[in-house]
Amino acid sequence: MNKYILYPGCSMESSARAYYDSLKAITDIIGLNLQEIEDWNCCGATEYLGIKLTPAYALISRNLALAAQQADGTRTVVAPCSACYLNLAKADYYMQEQPVLGQHVNEALAAGGLSYKPGSLDIRHLLDVLVYDVGLDTIKSKVVRPLTGLRVAPYLGCMVPRPDYEHRWSDYEYPVELDRLLNALGADVIEFPLKTECCGGHMTQISPDTAFELIRRLVSAADEHQADLMATLCPMCQMNLDAYQSETNKFFHTSYRMPVIFFTQLMGLAFGLEAKDLGFGLELVSARNALAKIGIEHPAEIPTGTARPKKDGSLPMPAPLPRRNMHTEKGKVVK
């Protein structure tokens, strides 16, 4: 059994619970031994790097120091979250490229009784380990319920295939690892041209109009390719495409209903596990119809809060105002 140190990251315990639940459900089946770093902290996402350099790298490196301390016979850290993966890989790489950064970080770590020698760990993404260590043959051999007929758009987002410091992926812009894995599960994998385009990242918080356009491009492309669902490997992408899809629909007057599911959930289904044990039902755009297509029952929906029913005697509301056009406003051509 291959042993790895796991750095889950904050999202896996909240917004991406479905990712963590499904990952835990499949590890035994494929012989993956993941040992979580004890008392890890947040990696700082894309926010801390833009505030202060040394504290940002010290924050990331506390995790590297703990991982190295607890490694016990392995040197590979696995991160399922894109931002976590990139931050750990980036810190490790830049501290080697620029030794003075490593010295500063180690001075800071010393205040907490820690140290880390840059380059002493391998930082890898979950998909990389599944495809290249566990292997597609092993994965294929565990499939008892092929996802035949399910049209899946593979979507990786930005931070896993790029900037790829250690050259682990087949391509920066059109890598095929996720496609091959989904193929091994028997799914009907779409050639999805936008598979590494941006989901908007933190723009949903900062400049929602920018984010909505990026979300619209992805969801409409998947819809045009007649995908039943999109399979992703990034908590941020899943959150933006799933939770902000209805907002995006409102903004553009569209009506897309594209489920966005973690690829580990699909692996669980193909391995014959129950949908309810794989975090299905946690997505805001339900995957019920997609699962029904291949004869799998979707767990009962957890009802989301509904608005108070309107009183009949209420005053009629005026018609909504015409929407300003974000592209023509600045004198730009409507795309």
Partner: protein, 198 residues
């Protein structure tokens, strides 16, 4: 905000120090930024998914840094609109660490208190405050505080999504605190001292 045309007619930088701006930015960037190697080809702007919303393309911004246009460069919204997708980074023929240069420009703008709109700096700062306090991010606290301050009118629109996330237990109601928070705080305190001294 001055347009580039207005800036073009104004006098060249008076202080000779300004001409070291490019070096300063490069020096403050993690790793070897290779910013000095930019050949102004424009691959970066052409690859950028959010270029339409930027004041300057990355190429333009780097030329402004080389010209010592400190104020205009730090006032630019470009680093704040950058989504860190790394398309430009892998396409740059000179291998400039463009995304990391954007992080440096953000931190320099915060330091100099130069930005047109405080939404993005505030978001980063709120996120960092939460992480420094708990050791983990806390989405509910972060999103609520941020939307209340910057998009109060959008809050009612966001409510269904927030309720959906809460009822599906995809957002924690209370923050999680790591056990080694004292250790983390000590590390970050020392890191800030090291940063100030360097």
């Amino acid at each position: 905000m001055q347009t580039l045309d207005q800036e073009r007619t104004s006098a060249p930088p008076k202080q000779i120090e300004d001409l070291s701006l490019l070096g300063e930015v490069s020096h403050r960037t993690a790793g070897v930024s290779r910013l000095e190697m930019c050949i102004q080809c424009g691959c970066c702007g052409g690859s950028c998914p959010s270029e339409a919303d930027m004041d300057h393309t990355p190429r333009m911004l780097f030329a402004m840094l080389r010209a010592g246009m400190r104020h205009a460069a730090l006032m630019s919204n470009t680093p704040w609109i950058c989504v860190s997708c790394y398309h430009c980074v892998v396409r740059c023929p000179q291998n400039v660490h463009i995304a990391d240069v954007m992080y440096t420009l953000k931190s320099m703008a915060i330091e100099a208190k130069l930005y047109q709109d405080s939404t993005a700096p505030d978001f980063s700062q709120t996120f960092v405050d939460m992480v420094e306090e708990f050791g983990r991010s806390f989405e509910l606290g972060l999103a609520t505080r941020h939307y209340l301050k910057h998009f109060p009118l959008r809050l009612p629109n966001m409510a269904p999504m927030g309720i959906g996330m809460l009822s599906k237990q995809r957002m924690n109601i209370t923050p999680t605190r790591i056990k080694g928070i004292a250790q983390l705080k000590a590390v970050l305190k020392r890191a800030k001292e090291v940063e100030a001294a360097s």
